[in-house]
């Protein structure tokens, strides 16, 4: 994908936002082109299926937040929305092809905020 702007990003660094444009850090883009990246920060429940973004923050109670973080859903985690509706299913994607799927009830999904890649 030629229109992808490669940006070096490391875990722990603030995500680089690029509205409507994919800005992933890899040679082989995982975001399926412009428009597949989340345009701006919004709750997980507002995402469209197939959109990819980075977790920016959660507004949950400490127990639920700690559980999600331990499951890998923490700030800067790269996620793809696989299914909207009860449950919201997301894929937490990592380098090397590794990924895991997490199902979330609406009451939790609406408190997970996703920003652009």
């Amino acid at each position: 994908m030629s229109d992808v702007v490669p940006i070096k990003s490391k875990a722990g660094q603030a995500p680089v936002a690029s509205v409507g444009t994919c800005a992933c850090s890899h040679d082989r883009c995982a975001c399926d082109g412009p428009g597949r990246s989340v345009p701006s920060e919004s709750p997980l429940t507002k995402l469209e299926i197939g959109q990819i973004g980075l977790v920016t923050r959660t507004t949950l109670g400490s127990d639920d937040e700690a559980l999600l973080r331990a499951m890998g859903l923490r700030p800067n985690a790269r996620v793809r929305l696989c299914q909207a509706g009860e449950p919201w299913i997301i894929e937490v994607r990592r380098t090397g092809g590794a990924c895991s799927r997490i199902g979330l009830a609406r009451a939790i999904a609406q408190h997970v905020h996703i920003g652009p890649v």
Partner: protein, 679 residues
């Protein structure tokens, strides 16, 4: 210089050689249980932590080189982080710190830790690895499911990972056995890691991300797993998902009822013959009665459920292994959440339709404590197989020539049980278990073929636990109830003796047609003997301790339309509901074969002490049906509730609530029917 911000520390000497206690730690869905089974096979037992219901499996790993057990492996509960505020995490913390140990084990830190991480998603387990490394115990990291990772093209540099972590890293596949031997060797010679990751939670997360970035090979995947997406969509769809779930559960239900019936009949026959043999071998008396009626009868009545329990856990283990159950939990979550239950509660509730004992035992899969307690409390409302004989008896009396109506009533009983369970959960969640059901956040494991070996070992484990319970608590309860129902032994009443004498006289008058051929007693002699049996059984039950208790509580049950005989039936069936049918049959007809139509007819026509009023009027039958749908008439269930909830308090709450609801509903039913002249 290490890539990650950990601290270099000098590598201390490895722990002294000898049998080691190794704690097996890992995230859920990393194949930890399969690895444990691969390492220990059948050389394992299930224990628990003192004061909790949290189970832990302990296995022995044999070293074939020295032909001895080299490792004692403690399979800790699957957790995402040791630091989470959850019971399972607290127990793991306690075990690693040496503050807690499984029952019967030394309370001291383990000699080593083995952290199992998923090769298909290495990054997910690294926080837990970091937490384990900070314990400064000899540590081995087992990268499991490497076969699956290879198939998916997921690779990592394991040598680099070992270098960064400063501990032994072994790549293995518990499913195929690859690398398991190497893991076994590493566990006995594990060194203490020479690096310590940061202690702060956020710093540890960054450390884990950096470690992963350093060892992961290749880029993030560009493709999307469309097959998994489609399966997830189907299995969690509001309509298709429910239909699929209904289909799967119908299959489960069918197998439990149909396939289990063969071994159950066999067990029934074996215990029946065993009781007969005891009576033949031992002289008639208290000991023979105790062994045949109390011990063999009581244990047999419980052991008969082992096939159902084994099949249930076998199928559930297979379903769980495929990855389907996690999706199904979300489907049922939509239905159960408004009633204060979670999607995890469905399998226990469904299982309770076979028997509440395995249903309550399977509630361990419900992660939230209050959700779990609510599930345990309401599970016995589900119509179990022990209620079916009672339903059959009462619906047959109610709808003798209208089987279709009988079927409707039967279905109504099932529906009433489900409604009562949901209604009770709703009340519990607003009173004693205040709070909403915890919203679900669940990892959805990859779809894969289930492991037959794991399912078999799980089944064996569950079956043995149930048998152990049958041999202790349930046996004691059975003996007490048998004693209450059988003692004191009273002489037969005068009327029964007279009838037997008359019958004997009739037989004596019957002359053989040909010398050497015996003749059957005449029809009337047989009838006289039957009537004598009925009077004798009725008298023996009436005078037994249970009978006296029944007569004592009769005033309490009178508002429901029950006379003293029904009250006795209710008292004697307190151990098991199906006993009601045989008690009533023996008391009212002198025979216990309730499959015999004539016995059923005589039961339906039985009268109260006045000899005129039928015992089973329409209002009484409906009242009894409602009572048996809702009442807690099963002592083994109470014993299991006390064990699984960790307190006898919950068993008492369950008993009082269920019996209270049953009493009120039966009273309303009886009053309404009599008020409208339908009695």
């Amino acid at each position: 210089m290490p890539i990650v911000p950990g601290h270099d520390v000098p590598a201390p000497m490895a722990a002294p050689p000898g049998p080691k206690r190794v704690a097996l730690l890992g995230n859920p869905n990393t194949g930890k249980t399969t690895l444990f089974n691969r390492l220990c096979a059948t050389r394992q037992k299930t224990s628990n932590f003192p004061g909790t219901t949290q189970e832990v499996r302990i296995g022995l790993v044999r070293d074939e080189k020295v032909r001895a057990d080299s490792i004692e492996l403690i399979d800790l509960p699957g957790i995402y982080s040791i630091e989470l505020q959850m019971t399972e995490a607290a127990l793991c913390r306690g075990v690693l710190a040496g503050d807690v140990a499984p029952r019967g084990e030394r309370v001291e830190p383990p000699d080593a830790i083995c952290v199992v991480i998923d090769a298909t998603d290495l990054g997910r387990g690294l926080v837990l690895v970091g937490e384990a490394l900070r314990r400064r115990l000899p540590t081995v990291v087992a990268i499991n499911m490497v076969d699956l990772a290879r198939r998916r093209g997921v690779h990592a540099d394991e040598a680099k990972l070992a270098d960064i972590l400063g501990c032994t890293v072994v790549v293995c596949s518990a499913r195929t056995g690859e690398g398991v031997e190497a893991l076994r060797d590493s566990l006995t010679h594990a060194p203490i890691p020479n690096r310590t990751p940061p202690g702060d939670a956020h710093a540890l997360e960054h450390w884990a991300d950096d470690v992963f970035a350093a060892v992961a090979l290749g880029d993030e995947r560009a493709d999307t797993d469309t097959l998994t997406d489609r399966l997830d969509k189907a299995f969690t769809h509001p309509v298709l998902g429910v239909l699929t779930f209904a289909l799967v559960m119908t299959g489960l239900f069918y197998v439990i009822f149909k396939l289990a019936s063969y071994p159950m009949d066999l067990i029934d026959g074996v215990f029946g013959r065993l009781a007969e043999a005891v009576r033949v071998v031992l002289p008639a008396g208290v000991l023979a009665d105790l062994l045949a009626g109390g011990v063999v009868g009581g244990v047999g009545a419980t052991v008969i459920f082992v096939p159902q329990i084994c099949l249930l856990f076998f199928i559930i283990s297979l379903l769980e292994d495929t990855g389907y159950l996690a999706r199904a939990a979300f489907v049922m979550d939509r239905v159960l959440r408004p009633f204060g239950l979670s999607g995890h509660s469905f399998v226990p509730l469904l299982s309770s339709h076979a028997c509440a004992l395995p249903g309550i035992m399977s509630a361990r899969a419900v992660p939230d404590r209050r959700d779990r307690l609510a599930t345990i409390l309401v599970a016995p409302f589900m119509t179990c197989s022990a209620r079916i004989p009672v339903y059959v008896l009462l619906t047959t009396i109610l709808f003798r020539d209208r089987p279709a109506m009988g079927a409707v009533a039967f279905t109504g009983c099932y529906a009433l049980g489900i409604v009562a369970a949901l209604f009770s959960s709703l009340i519990a969640r607003r009173t004693i278990l205040k709070g909403k059901s915890r919203p679900m956040a669940l990892e959805l494991p990859s779809y894969k073929l289930p492991s037959l070996a794991t399912a078999l070992l799980t089944t064996l484990d569950r079956g043995l636990i149930f048998l152990k319970q049958a041999g202790t608590n349930i046996l004691a309860i059975s003996i007490v109830l048998w004693w209450l129902s059988s003692y004191p032994v009273v002489p037969p009443p005068q009327r029964a003796l007279e009838l037997r004498a008359q019958a004997q006289a009739l037989v004596a008058q019957t002359i053989p047609q040909e010398p050497g051929t015996a003749t059957e007693p005449s029809q009337s002699a047989q009838s006289l003997n039957q009537e004598a049996d009925r009077i004798e059984a009725n008298h023996a039950t009436k005078m037994s301790f249970a009978g006296r208790l029944g007569r004592t509580i009769e005033p309490v049950l009178r508002p429901l339309g029950f006379d003293w005989q029904l009250s006795v039936g209710i008292v004697t069936s307190f151990a098991a509901r199906e006993v009601f049918v045989s008690t009533m049959a023996v008391m009212l007809t002198g025979a216990d074969d309730t499959e015999d139509q004539s016995v059923l007819n005589r039961l339906g026509a039985a009268t109260r002490d006045d000899g005129v009023t039928p015992i089973f009027t329409r209002a009484v039958c409906w009242s009894l049906l409602v009572y048996y749908v809702l009442a807690m008439q099963c002592l083994p269930t109470l014993a299991v509730t006390a064990k699984e909830s960790g307190s006898i308090k919950w068993a008492v709450v369950q008993l009082l609530w269920m019996c209270g609801v049953a009493y009120l509903a039966a009273w309303i039913t009886y009053k309404m029917l009599t008020m409208f002249g339908l009695s």
